[in-house]
């Protein structure tokens, strides 16, 4: 099954990589697996699948697509599935990736909701959750480190200081996220414009 021709610019082949294009059924399966594995956030799993296992995007392309998804309204990973799917398969690609991401968890969560309506005891679930959450945070830290690698490899440009400033603003100073974004994004974009 070959993907439909999408009216978008072809993905620029990066020189040193073996980037391939997914078909529609591959798209669906990849996002379904990402969503089923994605306890405590799907970002680490999406990167693992797309960059490390399937080689559909380079580390830099993944960072760019995810950054775009993060600054659109709505849930990040859901936006990412649409951005990624539409790039590789137009509207059908977007629909298929979204269906893969949302379908399996919808079924699982509905079953859980029915069980909860019936039994309503979450004490055990809560304890298991404490453990899984601790691991999920560790996985998130690992993916941040991996995503930061291409940025820091380019040398001490404007990028790393901006990333560090965003981190300090939200994590240490505890300023509101929208405020940090509205302040830093224009500065960072202006610097990117000047440097090119």
């Amino acid at each position: 099954m070959s993907g439909p021709v999408a009216p978008v610019a072809p993905v620029a082949p990066s020189p040193s990589s073996t980037i391939t294009r997914p078909t529609l059924s591959e798209l669906f399966r990849a996002f379904a697996i990402v969503s089923i594995s994605g306890f405590g956030g799907a970002l680490p799993w999406a990167r693992r699948k797309i960059v490390e296992q399937k080689c559909w995007m380079t580390a830099e392309e993944f960072n760019e697509a995810f950054a775009l998804s993060q600054f659109l309204p709505g849930p990040n990973v859901v936006n990412f599935s649409v951005v990624f799917g539409s790039r590789f398969g137009g509207a059908p690609g977007a629909a298929v990736a979204l269906a893969g991401l949302m379908g399996p968890p919808l079924i699982i969560v509905t079953v859980l909701a029915m069980l909860y309506a019936r039994f309503g005891d979450l004490e055990m679930l809560g304890r298991i959750l404490v453990g899984i959450t601790a691991a999920a945070i560790g996985l998130l830290i690992a993916v941040v480190a991996k995503m930061a690698a291409p940025l820091f490899r380019k040398g001490w440009d404007w990028g790393p200081p901006v990333a560090v400033a965003a981190f300090i603003g939200v994590a240490i100073m505890q300023w509101p996220l929208p405020l940090v974004f509205v302040t830093l994004a224009p500065i960072s974009i202006a610097l990117a414009w000047v440097k090119r």
């Binding site: 610019a9 620029a12 994605g38 306890f39 405590g40 970002l43 490390e52 960072n63 760019e64 950054a67 775009l68 659109l72 309204p73 709505g74 849930p75 859901v78 936006n79 539409s86 977007a94 991401l101 949302m102 968890p105 919808l106 969560v109 509905t110 859980l112 909701a113 309503g120 979450l122 055990m124 679930l125 304890r127 298991i128 404490v130 453990g131 899984i132 601790a134 691991a135 999920a136 945070i137 560790g138 998130l140 830290i141 690992a142 941040v144 995503m147 940025l151 990028g159 990333a163 400033a165 965003a166 981190f167 603003g169 994590a171 996220l177 940090v180 994004a185 974009i189 990117a192 414009w193």
Partner: protein, 175 residues
């Protein structure tokens, strides 16, 4: 409550979909305000339990709206709430992605994209930090976070195994 609850379910979540910048966790307080305080669909305890179930199940955390919808109006409610929460923002994402890819070579597009990446990274790092500070209550939990981070960064070991082990450790009540 007058009439079908499906209409307000759809209306509130469709609106929230377009204003939820910063992902599911940023939208939780507003969901709580609507579901508990404004519409009285559920009480505090039920909302907290929904949040726990959404966290415990795989997939995007935004799936909490499915649970709220189910609680309010059964399966149709679950379907309507999920569609409302994802529909509008997905349309925006689709339109932006198309425009974005069309201007792949434009200088302004390259500058915006290159400028957003470091801000995005800093914010993801910050959310990991904040989560770790609020969720890791014991030294053991912090240890699990640290070990998972190291294994996840340095090896290709499937993290699901670590998740299973940490879930079991949690069940023992040590964490």
């Amino acid at each position: 409550m007058n009439g079908s609850p499906l209409l307000p379910l759809f209306g509130y979540f469709a609106l929230l979909s377009l204003f939820a910048v910063g992902g599911a966790n940023a939208a939780i307080p507003e969901m709580h305000r609507i579901a508990v305080e404004v519409m009285h669909w559920m009480n505090d305890r039920q909302f907290a339990d929904s949040f726990a179930i959404a966290q415990a199940s795989p997939g995007p955390n935004i799936i909490i709206v499915t649970l709220i919808g189910y609680h309010v109006a059964g399966l149709p409610g679950a379907a309507v709430a999920t569609a409302a929460m994802c529909g509008p923002s997905c349309m925006v994402a689709f339109l932006v992605a198309r425009t974005w890819d069309r201007f792949k070579e434009a200088r302004w597009r390259i500058a915006i994209q290159a400028g957003l990446v470091p801000v995005s990274l800093g914010l993801i790092a910050a959310s990991a930090f904040v989560l770790a500070r609020t969720a890791d209550h014991t030294i053991y939990a912090a240890l699990i976070t640290g070990i998972t981070a190291l294994v996840g960064f340095a090896t290709r070991f499937n993290p699901l195994w670590i998740f299973a082990a940490s879930g079991l450790l949690g069940l023992t009540g040590w964490l």
